[in-house]
Every structure is written in C-alpha cells, then in structure tokens.
C-alpha cells in the first residue's frame, strides 16, 4: 500500500504544478463566475430559477468540456512522461506496477474531479450566502454523476496511454474517441434512424451505451422526471428502467466502464515494455 500512496501523492503534486491543471481549474471556476455574472441565478427560463438553474447550466457545459479535458490532459502527461524517459527512472525504483499504475490513477482522479466539484460547491455556498434556496438533492446527484463521468473518461485516458508510445498519437486517439462519442449523441443516431431505418430500440440502446448520452439523459431526468424533452425515446427508457433504475444506470455504468478501461490499460501496461 505504501507504493500506492506514494504514487498517488506524486501524481497529485505533479498535477498541481502542471499548467494544464491551472487552465482546467480556471475553466471550471470561470464557467461558474460567468454564470453568476450573467445573472443566471436571477433569470427565469422554463421555470428554473436560482441555484437550480445555475447547476443545470453548469452540468450541461461540463458534459461538453470535462471529457475532452480529462482525455487530453491524461494522455498528454502519461504518454509524455513515458516518451521523456521518466518511466525508465521512476520504474527502476522498487515500486510494484500495480501500485504505480493505480496510484497514479487515484491521484489523477482527485486532480480532475476536485476542481469541478469545488467550483460547483463554492457556487452553491455563495448562492446560499446570498439567500438563494440550496437544491441539495440536485447538488448531490450532479456531484455523483460528475464523479462517475470523470472516472469513466479517466479510465479511457489511461487505456489510451497504455496502448500508445507517443504523446502525439495518444492525443489524436483521445480526440478521436471523444469525437465519436459526441457524434453518437445525435448526429449518427439520427442518421441511423433516417437513412438506415434501424429499429428505434437498437438506436436508443446505442445511445444508452454512450457514457456522454447516459450522463446527459440523467442530468435531464433530474429536472424533467418524465423526460418530456426527449420525446418518444423517453417511453423506452422509462418503461425499461424506471426513474430510479435509470439514475442507478447513469451512476454506475460510466463508473464501471472507466474501471474496465482502466483495468484493460493496466493489463496492457503490465504486459508490455515499460519505458
């Protein structure tokens, strides 16, 4: 366990010093500040007001920004470290591969999740101090969903880093994965329905296998329990899952997916050349 904690601590302090972390924290902190600045807590659109509206907007923006940020920064630093010869030296120390890999995974998870969570938590605290009603239920669910989404993309990032030997290839692969998942949110799915005449059940299953869509639908469900905004797809989702079942799926599926990809990454890392 000592090796695990050493690697975790090392990765956290490396992240805190890195420029990507400063930018990452500024982006999420900046989003919250901008939402306050543009008076989102005071606006009343579609019946949402106060902190609930701010959280809904924040979560939608996070869905677009968080995955690509996590993917690119993870693969860039891990593949970059390997390329620069840092692995050669650090892995000549008596630390097990499992402690090194999962220790860094844990450290990186803290580094990517904490700024996103803190930005949201500080916003809620600030709003509460100004007399707004605190939507505790939404805040807890959004935190849990963000945690699950971060874990998922971190796992994918570690998997890509293990597979590739250069940071350029790793970044391109990460960008490609993100783009595919993004396209499978709407565009390709619409194409499948309209051009390929695929069965709606199949198309909706595809959507529900996409962690981005799972997150998006769950975030939507929290303020629209009947998923009216989704149209007929909502029937299939609610008939098969129910609200509680779907929220559980949205919470655990991305997490498990991250764990599976992280595990596959470890398997590849352990079986290959280390430097």
């Amino acid at each position: 366990m000592r090796g695990f904690w050493l690697a975790t601590r090392l990765d956290i302090s490396e992240s805190l010093r890195a420029r990507w972390f400063v930018l990452y924290s500024l982006v999420f902190g900046g989003i919250i500040v901008m939402l306050f600045m543009f008076g989102l807590t005071e606006s009343r659109v579609m019946g949402f007001t106060g902190l609930t509206r701010l959280l809904v907007t924040y979560i939608q923006i996070s869905m677009a920004v968080l995955p690509i940020f996590i993917l690119i920064t993870t693969v860039r630093s891990l593949a970059g470290d390997r390329e620069a010869g840092i692995y050669e030296y650090m892995l000549s120390q008596p630390i097990s591969l499992v402690a090194w890999y999962w220790g860094r995974f844990a450290g990186r998870f803290v580094a990517v999740f904490v700024p996103v969570f803190l930005a949201m938590a500080i916003a809620v605290l600030w709003g509460a101090m100004r007399g707004a009603e605190v939507p505790v239920y939404h805040f807890l669910w959004y935190s849990a969903l963000l945690l699950s989404l971060s874990f998922c993309f971190l796992g994918i990032g570690f998997f890509i880093s293990s597979l590739t030997r250069s940071s350029d290839v790793a970044q391109s692969a990460a960008f490609f994965v993100w783009l595919i998942l993004l396209l499978f949110l709407d565009l390709i799915l619409l194409g499948l329905i309209i051009r390929a005449q695929s069965a709606p059940g199949f198309v909706i299953s595809l959507a529900l296998a996409n962690p981005l869509q799972v997150f998006r639908t769950a975030a939507m469900m929290l303020f629209d329990p009947q998923l009216i905004m989704l149209g007929p797809s909502a029937w299939l989702i609610l008939d098969n899952f129910g609200k509680a079942g779907y929220l559980a799926w949205a919470l655990f599926y991305p997490f498990v997916l991250g764990l599976v990809f992280g595990g596959l990454g470890y398997f590849v890392f352990r079986r290959g050349d280390l430097p």
Binding site: R17, A84, I86, E88, S92, P94, S96, D273
Partner: protein, 290 residues
C-alpha cells in the same frame, strides 16, 4: 548474482540483443562497453525488468520481470540521461526513499558528501539543475539504500574530477559487491572495473578480465611543470583541484587512481605546454574518510 540466458530483444524488425548469455558474479566490477546502439542500455533495462524479451534474466535466482519489486530493492540505478522531472528535489527524494523504505536523511547525507546542499536544492525543480547536480542526486539516491548491485549508465559524464573521486571512494567502500558500469569509452571506466564486456549489435564480442589494481579509492600525488603560463590550462587544472606556485608554472594536486586515464587525456590536450610530469606513489584512502 545475475544470469542472462539466451536473451533476445527486438524492436519491430530490429534485433537489439541477439541471444545474449552472460553471468555476473559477486566481486565482478564490470565495464559494459560498446558503441551507440550496441545494446548496452537495452541490456540494463532487461536486468531492471523493464523490457519484455525472450530468454531469461534472473537476479539471485529470481526472474527479473516477475519479481521486479523485490529485485529492484537490491539494485541501485543511475541512468545515462537524467529524467526531466519537474518535481522539486525534496519530493523526488521523498518518493525514492519511500519506495526503498529508508529515510530521506540517508540520501541527504550522501548528497552532502557529494557537495550538494540539500536545503539549497530541496525546493528547486529537478529539471532546472545542472547536469552534474542531477547526476550527483541520482547517485545519492542509488547509493543510499546500500544496494547489492549498482548499475551506472555513463556515470561520470557530468561529474567534475572531485565528484568523480568521491564516487570512486564510495564504490570502493562497497568492497566485493558487484558494479555494472556502462560506457561507450573504456578509458572513462577502466580504473573502476575488473572485467570488461564489449557488446556489438547485441552480441558479446569481448569478455575479459582486467588487472584489478585495487586502486579505486587511491589518490596519486601529481606535479606538473609548464613551459609557460596558460589561462586555459589554469582553468582546466583548477577543476581538478590543483594549486599553482606564484609563477603559475608548477601545479600540484592529487588524481584519483581510477581517473588516471582520463587525467592523461586532459594533459594530452596541453602536451605542447607540459614540460614535466611527476606522479608519486598511490595513497590509499583511509577508512575514516580523511
């Protein structure tokens, strides 16, 4: 201690180690020499359990990759190129001490022996240090855990003569414990070893014993007389901690026994300037470190 049996390592279609078999025993101080691309670094990485390869590499009977953690606890490694770590020196030392299960102070004391002031450097990013400072810190990390085997990849490349002298003394204090030193120039390491292995395109082309003069920690009194003063020479020889008379034509100092060939190489650059060279008897370094 180390058995390398039929090891072949390929990178795509390039064979870097070609069915290599070697045995390193206790008491072996080995110079692993060869030109660039001969396979020295690849062999070291196989010993460190970093590469997948065919054949077997075992250290004390344990297969190196499967028993990485245990084996690496017995090996101190100094790489040829210092890793570009952005972390402060203090953090690097804490990590390495933590993995080795020793206190940071063990590394710090060797750093100070090598004239690296820990308090001055502990907050500085490792990659911002000079080549020599990095090398000294990596040597201190490798030595502090008192490993059974030391692997040094081009160890003296960035060290000044005084730091080299200290390194030779530390290696000498290890007694019979094995050392593997990789270099592409034999004269850099000849005084440190009792066996030479030369690699060429992944094969052993020379495996020979060299006379072990037991002089690793010895210091040789030396006196150089010059035909005239010369600023460039003064600058160079001052780096060897030599001192001059009033006229700056006679220089006196001590040279590490293991560093003789390198010293001759330096003098050769000023052969037109050197009028006389006297080298006195060797003085073994005393056990109390004075």
């Amino acid at each position: 201690m180390i058995t390398i049996d039929g090891v072949t390592k390929k990178f795509r279609k390039t064979t870097v180690l070609d069915n290599l078999s070697l045995d390193f025993g206790k008491g072996d101080r080995i110079a692993l020499i060869g030109s660039n691309g001969a396979g020295k670094t690849t062999l070291i990485r196989c010993i460190l359990g970093q590469y997948i390869h065919s054949g077997t590499v075992s250290v004390n009977g344990l297969e190196s990759r499967r028993n990485r953690e245990k084996i690496l606890g017995e090996i101190g490694f100094v790489p040829q190129i210092a890793p570009p770590l952005k972390m402060p020196v203090g953090e690097l030392l804490r990590f390495c001490a933590g993995t080795a299960g020793i206190g940071v102070e063990a590394i710090v004391s060797i750093c100070e022996h090598l004239e690296i002031e820990y308090d001055e450097f502990k907050k500085r990013p490792f990659n911002k240090l000079s080549g020599g400072q990095k090398q000294k810190i990596l040597i201190a990390i490798a030595m502090a855990r008192k490993p059974e085997l030391i692997i040094l990849d081009e160890p003296t490349a960035n060290l000044d003569p005084h730091a080299r002298q200290i390194l030779f003394e530390m290696l000498s204090e290890r007694g019979d414990l094995p050392v593997l030193i990789s270099s592409h120039r034999l004269e850099e390491v000849a005084g440190l070893v009792n066996r030479i292995i030369e690699l060429d395109r992944g094969r052993v082309v020379l495996d020979d014993a060299v006379e072990d003069g037991g002089e690793m920690s010895a210091r040789i009194d030396c006196r150089i007389t010059l035909a005239r003063t010369d600023d460039a020479f003064a600058n160079t020889i001052s780096g060897w901690k030599f001192s001059a008379d009033k006229n700056q034509t006679t220089w006196k100092g001590q040279v590490a026994g293991a560093d003789r060939l390198r010293f001759f190489g330096v003098l050769a650059r000023y052969s037109g300037l050197v009028d006389g060279l006297e080298m006195g008897s060797k003085q073994e370094k005393r056990g109390d470190g004075k």
